[in-house]
Subunit: 340 residues, 2 copies
């Protein structure tokens, strides 16, 4: 396929623009009818660093690149709008794979009401996908930053934790936990790693219900929780026994620990629970939302969101993040991803 | 320097956000007070493809990456707003170089009234810089696409052509034209290649003066002119003798032609003029604006812009791009960049 044909084929794969889009790709720039506040984030995934084409299909890579960017909009409570995609393809990257990548991205875009309104495709020394996403809000107070948590707020999280980390372990060694984890459960864990779901609807519902601060768990609760605590100047106190560990995570974490991946900390069922908690707070890419909310708003929030919420603890005076429960000292020492 | 420190240092280098920016980097996403129409483009430059660290400083690379993106806003007549930067750095890329790159970008941002409102820095297998820029307009009719040219319009161009292409030749072989081109002229040509200027003020002035179609010359007049002609369904007829060739381009083009770079087409002064025209229409990256405008608006446009305008020819019925003048057949066969 000639290069201009590839670009045309990718454009065709991206589908029709939304009604806000006055001019789509094909001009020098896209033109979009704005709403009062634009919320924008750019995210980059690189092969060999964030994903590996040995275990990740081109469609997975496209999905992940858009999902990680949209997750930032979810964490602000913004409505997804447009995405702009930069695709740097190495020599030898097959046109068919580039198209599959675009289709994986387009499928998630359609499901989330996002228009891929522009892009750039270039040759480069490595596969690098950068996605800039813009969401919209009517009023500034409809959005939630990291900095609004107040002492006395409850700390909550959407969905379940540890699944993406466990899925990553399973991808690296599919047989590691095959005697302990059902095939369907294992597949679900792998899917959480390869195809994360940005919590867009939950983020908007939490914002509307009165969440005071919010962050998406891209780098793990241990790291992202500290970001939120620092920005809000509060201490987050989290009950380790309340962590909503995804099914199968304990078994995978224990198998990984048995291979020395967590320093051999685990023995028996108690060790298995600790290994699961360590994985759940240290491994990133679950893309769940960590939030704070006044106690009297909790029930309304739980009723409004489309995923289960778990009450993890409270925001207090002070700063930082600390755990309570039997493994507290152990978990306090854990850190999530602190990448460049 | 630790990785989080590098990110903090880059942030510090980027300067203070503009007054439209409600939340800058440091949260999950930036929040910007919008104007009615958002104009967005994403552009990518990769080392080894778009620039070479042998001849291009980190600050040049940062400048170029932002300039190419802003040039798309110039071509729409939009006012520059915010930039979001994805920086993929290979292992071994020095922290000091990353900072210099950010500072080169920040200097251009400040000069153009652009806020670098967000970014992402990752490790990758190659140096790839993607920049998404958003500009703003009050009314849709304040913007100019590629598709509005009408038969009878004049065709014009800002500034001078061929400089970036000649600068590229000089970078590849600094001694090639040293006996024909003054050192100051040579330095100016190289600067046009390394540090292109997005024609933001000229783009807005041309839009306000009534330009009917506009495109930035990133891929060369031969290619970009055809893009505009196709989008507008007109033929562009361009007088080859009117092309505003930058000083020194003829000498460099002739030296390059003497080395066979243009197929040895040139002999003597006449050959030198043809070689210059070939370079001026085929080499991209001048980032001048090609536009169409009704004849009665020309004088107002020329008075309003901050760079000289040159009348190249006319838009006619039909489609495509053709030259008139002594070298017409030769130039009609030339193409600019048609890259992926």
């Amino acid at each position: 396929m000639a290069e201009l044909e590839l670009i045309a084929a990718i454009r065709a794969a991206l589908g029709a623009p939304g009604e806000r889009v006055v001019r789509g790709s094909g001009d020098d720039a896209a033109v979009v009818r704005a709403r009062p506040f634009a919320v924008t984030s750019i995210d980059t995934v690189a092969e060999g660093v964030h994903f590996d084409m040995e275990t990740c299909s081109p469609a997975d890579a496209g999905h992940r690149a858009l999902a990680t960017a949209l997750s930032d909009l979810a964490a602000m409570g913004a409505q997804a709008g447009e995405a702009y995609v930069s695709l740097a393809l190495p020599e030898g990257f097959a046109d068919g794979d580039a198209l599959e990548l675009a289709r994986g991205m387009a499928a998630l875009a359609e499901r989330t009401g996002t228009t891929i309104a522009g892009g750039d495709v270039v040759r480069a020394g490595a596969l690098v996908i950068a996605v800039s996403v813009t969401g919209w809000a009517e009023r500034e107070r409809d959005l939630v930053g990291r900095d609004g948590a107040q002492p006395g707020d409850l700390v909550g999280v959407t969905g379940t934790l540890g699944a993406a980390g466990a899925g990553f372990h399973l991808l690296s060694d599919p047989n590691a936990a095959s005697d302990r984890v059902d095939g369907g459960v294992a597949a679900a864990l792998v899917a959480r790693h390869l195809r994360p779901t940005p919590r867009l609807a939950a983020g908007r519902a939490l914002a509307a219900a009165g969440a005071t601060a919010m962050i998406d768990l891209s780098d793990g609760l241990a790291t992202d929780g500290r970001h939120l605590a620092r920005a809000s100047r509060v201490a987050l106190e989290i009950d380790a026994t309340a962590l909503p560990i995804a099914p199968g995570v304990a078994e995978v974490a224990r198998a990984a620990a048995g291979r020395g991946a967590d320093g051999g900390a685990s023995r028996g069922d108690e060790g298995s629970a600790l290994a699961a908690r360590r994985l759940a707070v240290s491994a990133g890419e679950d893309y769940e939302l960590l939030f704070t909310i006044p106690p009297e708003r909790w029930d309304a929030a739980a009723a409004a969101v489309d995923v289960p919420l778990t009450r993890l603890g409270s925001a207090l005076g002070g700063e930082g993040l600390r755990f309570t429960g039997p493994d507290a000292a152990d978990l306090d020492a854990v850190r999530g991803y602190e990448h460049l």
